[in-house]
């Protein structure tokens, strides 16, 4: 019994010490709020279009890998913010933080690592 407990404890410790997966946690479709569900296989969707501080975002990807999320100005298309994410195939629930952006209209864009556009959505910082 002691051996069994020791094995169990060792296994638990080993699991605890294991490096976190670099990928974001996969999410099942049931966990996706209605407002963030994306019917297509690929896309990007914000929970709300009018945003004041931060907003939930779903990024639905075709494959595991690196992707870019870009925020462009709503008039001149100038890129004003960009992040690189490493995420899994399927839905990925993320956030967009807009508190430091000027009040204006914007477009959020999902591209692959090489800037090929996979999805767009407009939003407004109010």
């Amino acid at each position: 019994m002691k051996k069994l407990l020791l094995i169990l404890l060792t296994f638990t410790i080993l699991i605890g010490c294991a490096k976190d997966d670099e990928f974001l946690e996969p999410i099942t479709n049931e966990e996706i709020p209605q407002s963030l569900q994306i019917k297509e296989l690929i896309g990007i969707k914000l929970e709300n279009t009018i945003v004041t501080d931060r907003v939930a975002m779903n990024v639905k990807l075709p494959l595991d890998g690196k992707y870019r999320i870009k925020i462009r100005h709503g008039i001149n298309n100038e890129l004003i913010s960009q992040e690189m994410i490493e995420a899994e195939e399927g839905d990925n629930l993320l956030r967009v933080y807009v508190a430091s952006l000027d009040k204006s209209g914007y477009m959020i864009q999902l591209t692959d690592e090489f800037h090929n556009v996979l999805g767009n959505q407009s939003f407004v910082v109010n």
Binding site: L24, L79, I80, Q82, E83, Y97, I108, H115
Partner: protein, 541 residues
């Protein structure tokens, strides 16, 4: 026989003309301005040999253009005098008759027209003057003098001062009641060359490169005494419509940028610094200097951030460098920066002109009623420190350009020269949970670069800035205000260049649990400058 008939007709015509007395009316003085007092005299001229003992005249004046002030009888001693007036009426002359025939018009009024001799007319007032004397009036006897104030025609419905006074009829009689034939000296009294008055709608067009933020600018219009007569802000198109100015009055106009604008720390950048350093190295020192790298004389003013009379030297360049580095130089400077503006403005067509070796910013203008173009001005605006005119107006006046002068010029740092280059600015979360913002550049030949990075200080805390720009560059990073950090490099010798690769890396610590960084870090100023002064506009895919 023909000759006899011709002679007869001539005699008859002469006698006919000789038989007409007249009512003469004309100004006593000259009026030139709205508000001047016009004095009109009404005078009898004897033309028929008859003895006039009763003189009565009826005239009307435009009460929208003239305001009655007073009258003064000129009747001779012993004569009776009366004056009547009615406002809101206008005489209706007899149809198909000579309107100059004063006794015909008098008879029309007295015997024929009945209630039709006058019609209502709000713009007109009727005056009637009567003088009766026991003895005959002398030729040239004045009846009366009137004083009127000249009113502004703005808003009156009249575009000029023509026919503002008209004599309607005259009743000249001898002592036995015989009617004397009378004519008038003119159809109506005109006034010309009247200046002043409300200039109506006046428009100021703001001229600046900062076209996204017109509403951040205000204007002030002052009169000759330096008193403010109109103030306000420009609309989103850069226009201001003002009223209350007067024609033929000279005013001055100036524009100012609010010190509360959120982008003032984006006005003076490393590109301006490079221009000022180059000018200082080139020994350029304003209009009186011997050589220069600037294109416009106004750049001497904008580059003189220490404010020592338009002299551009190393004091100015080091002051800007200290500002970009966030170092307190302990000097007071004029650099446009967060919470501080130093404005220059003037009429665009002459903005930055040089006269007698002095850069000028003429501000005066004069609305003139007859010149519609004088009812609009273009007002140019510039900011001290903005040597490359990124937020300022570029002069167009020929004398403002240094290339047009005979002055010796070294290699120019044309502020117009710029080129685009691709870079990659990107944030991500590293294995340690830190947010890393990387500036990746393959641009060659940059002696300077600058990035103003905006981040959310409630979510991120800036921990470190890692430079990998090369060993000899002067690097700087400073927090301009909470949530804005300025990062860059510059080689004041114009020899070293920013290393390619990832010259700048900003490390942030999240203040809360975050899964990603979208929107947390954005970028405003992102530019570089080459050794020849060429500005590099960074393009991010």
């Amino acid at each position: 026989m023909k000759k006899i008939l011709l002679l007869l007709v001539s005699v008859m015509f002469t006698l006919s003309s000789y038989g007409q007395s007249s009512i003469d009316y004309s100004p006593v003085n000259t009026v030139t301005q709205v508000g001047d007092t016009l004095i009109m005299k009404f005078q009898y001229f004897k033309g028929d040999g008859n003895d006039l003992t009763l003189g009565q005249l009826d005239f009307e004046y435009n009460n929208k253009l003239l305001s009655y002030v007073s009258h003064e009888s000129q009747a001779p001693t012993g004569a009776s005098f009366a004056r009547n007036n009615w406002t809101g009426y206008k005489f209706v002359p007899k149809a198909d008759s000579d309107e100059d025939d004063m006794d015909v018009q008098y008879t029309w009024w007295k015997d024929e027209a009945g209630a039709n001799s006058y019609e209502t007319g709000a713009d007109w007032s009727v005056e009637r003057v009567t003088i009766q004397s026991a003895s005959a009036l002398e030729n040239g006897q004045e009846f009366i003098k009137y004083s009127f104030k000249v009113k502004d025609k703005f808003g009156s419905g009249y575009s000029n001062y023509n026919d503002i006074i008209k004599v309607n009829w005259a009743n000249y009689q001898e002592s036995d009641g015989t009617q004397i034939q009378t004519t008038r000296s003119k159809d109506g009294q005109d006034l010309s060359g009247i200046e002043g008055g409300n200039a109506g709608n006046f428009v100021i067009n703001l001229k600046t490169a900062n076209t996204d933020n017109y509403t951040d600018y205000s204007y002030t219009v002052k009169n000759g005494a330096g008193e403010s007569v109109a103030t306000g802000t420009f609309d989103e198109s850069g226009q201001a419509s003002i009223s209350g100015l007067e024609n033929n009055v000279t005013y001055t106009a100036e524009a100012n940028l609010t010190e509360a604008a959120s982008y003032l720390d984006e006005v003076v950048t490393v590109s301006d610094l490079a221009l000022v350093f180059a000018e200082a190295i080139g020994a350029g020192s304003g209009p009186s200097g011997g050589s220069t790298t600037f294109d416009y004389f106004v750049q001497d003013i904008m580059a003189d951030v220490v404010g020592d009379g338009g002299v551009v030297d190393f004091q100015d360049s080091y002051e800007i460098l200290a500002y970009l580095q966030g170092v307190d130089s302990s000097n007071t400077n004029l650099i446009t920066q967060d919470g501080q503006t130093e404005d220059y403005s003037g009429i665009a067509s002459t903005y930055g002109a040089v006269a007698n070796d002095v850069v000028t910013f003429a501000k005066s203008f004069t609305p003139i009623d007859s010149d519609a173009s004088s009812k609009t001005i273009d007002l140019a605006h510039g900011l001290v420190g903005d040597v490359n005119f990124s937020h300022s107006y570029t002069p167009v006046v020929e004398s403002g350009g240094k290339s047009t002068s005979a002055r010796q010029s070294s290699a120019r740092y044309s502020k117009r020269d710029s080129e685009d280059a691709n870079i990659d600015l990107i944030s991500e979360i590293n294995d340690e949970g830190q947010v890393v913002f990387s500036i990746n550049s393959d641009v060659e030949g940059m002696v300077g670069s600058q990035f103003n990075i905006v981040y959310d200080p409630n979510v991120l805390s800036l921990e470190n800035v890692i430079f990998d720009t090369g060993n000899t560059m002067t690097n700087f990073s400073n927090i301009v205000q909470n949530g804005i950090v300025r990062v860059g490099s510059f080689d004041q010798n114009f020899e070293s260049t920013v290393k390619e690769g990832t010259p700048y890396k900003l490390i942030f610590t999240p203040l809360e649990t975050i899964e990603n960084t979208s929107g947390l870090i954005s970028f405003r100023v992102k530019e570089g400058v080459k050794a020849d002064g060429t500005k590099i506009n960074f393009i991010i895919q």
